[in-house]
């Protein structure tokens, strides 16, 4: 085996983290994007801007603020302890929460786009055929937004995999808990262990490439139908 056990552990952790974050963001980002796409509220622009904000802060700085907020003296920290969840920094769920926050725009923006491009008509049709709004969302909007969901999920997943500044900042680099692959490669590079770094980077790239390739093939296949 060309990867050490700790490399494998890091990769496995990364996949778990990215999956968890993508799933959470699908659940959280979809309604946000839908609201942004449909609402005529005046708040719309503001919420839209807020959602995009995490992008402009450097990840490690964002990580620093999250560390403050989630720490024992921070507001989020107070909340999580009140909820009996303990302190989040240095835990998997702390990482997940931070990544969710940081990756939100990658999920919301493409979804908002595709939702907007669907227009009113299909929803009107569905309504006249007796579909409630929720029903219409699942039976019409979702399938018509396949591509957008694909893009949003790819961006989110990939971004979580590559994410590093925030993770480093609040994760504490604990093996098996918060030492994800990106941190592991970074450590290799910093320690001038270039061979290990190359190996792991190559494997991650290859793995990602194959995954993306499969997704794109699927997407192309689906694309034919619409």
């Amino acid at each position: 085996m060309i990867l050490t056990e700790s490399d494998l552990q890091a990769i496995w952790l990364t996949v778990r983290l990215a999956t968890v974050v993508t799933v959470i963001l699908l659940l959280v980002g979809t309604p946000v994007a839908w609201w942004l796409a449909r609402s005529r509220s005046r708040l719309k622009g503001m919420i839209g801007a807020v959602v995009a904000l995490p992008l402009v802060l450097p990840p490690s700085v964002l990580g620093f603020y999250l560390l403050l907020a989630m720490g024992p003296n921070g507001p989020v920290g107070h909340l999580t302890r009140a909820l009996g969840l303990g302190n989040l920094p240095f835990t998997f769920w702390g990482l997940a929460l931070a990544s969710v926050f940081y990756s939100l725009p990658f999920m919301v923006q493409p979804l908002q786009n595709v939702f907007e491009s669907i227009g009113d008509r299909p929803l009107e049709v569905a309504a006249t055929l007796g579909a409630s709004r929720l029903d219409a969302f699942f039976s019409v909007v979702l399938p018509l937004s396949r591509r957008g969901f694909m893009t949003a999920s790819i961006l989110t997943f990939a971004h979580t995999v590559g994410e590093f500044g925030v993770v480093l900042m609040i994760g504490g680099n604990i093996p098996g808990v918060t030492r994800v692959a990106s941190v592991q490669i970074y450590d290799h590079v910093e320690a001038l262990e270039y061979a290990s770094a190359h190996r792991m980077a190559a494997i991650m790239l290859l793995f990602s490439f194959l995954t993306l390739l499969a997704l794109y093939a699927w997407r192309a296949d689906n694309g034919k139908r619409s």
Partner: protein, 352 residues
Amino acid sequence: MHLTLNVQKNFPGFHLAADVSLSGDRVGVFGPSGSGKSTLVGMLAGFLKPDAGEILLNGDTLFSTSRKINVRPDQRRIAMVFQQHSLFPHMNVRNNLLYGYRRCQVDQRSIHLDTLVAVLQLDDLLERDITTLSGGQQQRVSLGRAILANPRLLLMDEPLSALDDTLRFQIIPYLKSVSSEFGIPYLFISHSLVEMRLMTDTVLAFDKGAMVGQTTSEQLARDRMGSSQVGYINLLNLGRASDNGSLYAYPWGAARLLLSAASDRDHSMAELSSKDIILFKQHPEAISARNLLQCTVRSLFNTGRRIGVELDCAGNTLISEVVQDAVNELGIIPGSTVFAAVKASAFRILPG
């Protein structure tokens, strides 16, 4: 169906006002392009909001500005055939057709896929992608989808415009039977007088956003007789046909008509244009027209440059159109006797 509708809707440069209270299951909306027909049904379906007014269907308030009611479209149970078909592109024909059906309570599903598919001639297309359908095929799927939703009211915005005559005249009687057999009232938009005559009883006529009148399709046909290419369309209730040489003899009230076409049903409906009836003062000789009826003039009415002559032919009513000169020359006055000549080929048996 009882519909009360009193709405206002303004667009820049266009103002629609309609005030109707009508009962009837087959209602037509008639008017030239841009007169506000689609806008009206959009408000009924619920995705266009009137600026002010009220909409009541069978006593239920669907919309009311004064009472601040606006029932959501999906709770109105009003299905719609859109002018631009708007099929779901991610579903095949079958799933498009069944979309509303599946959302309908099981005990309310009175109409079923198979019969509908047969009438609309969609049998071979069920598994097809929507994007591969021809224009007319799309229109038929759209129509079928709305009917299968088994709505409380069916709105149809020019549902037959992309269809050839053969298909159109097969679908019309089916639509009527859907209405009568399954009790689905409909509102039918069209700019075709023939379709209005055949499909509807009550007609709302629009012009430039104003409802110019609520009338019967019968009356509309009389009014437009003079300006329409097809004249007034007489609808004749015929009995069962019997052979008569190369023609078919149909009982028509106390009279008998010879037609060149036949149906094998006990009761048939035939249409006959007012233009196809020629009147004689005396019984003519050696005429190509196979039907010569002795009739009494009941009344005369004027539409444009034509005179409508309402005849009583052996107890049946028939409307012919003539010009003023003919009225004068033949001395057509109420109570006078005339002979009406009609060619055997002038009738069209309506399938159904």
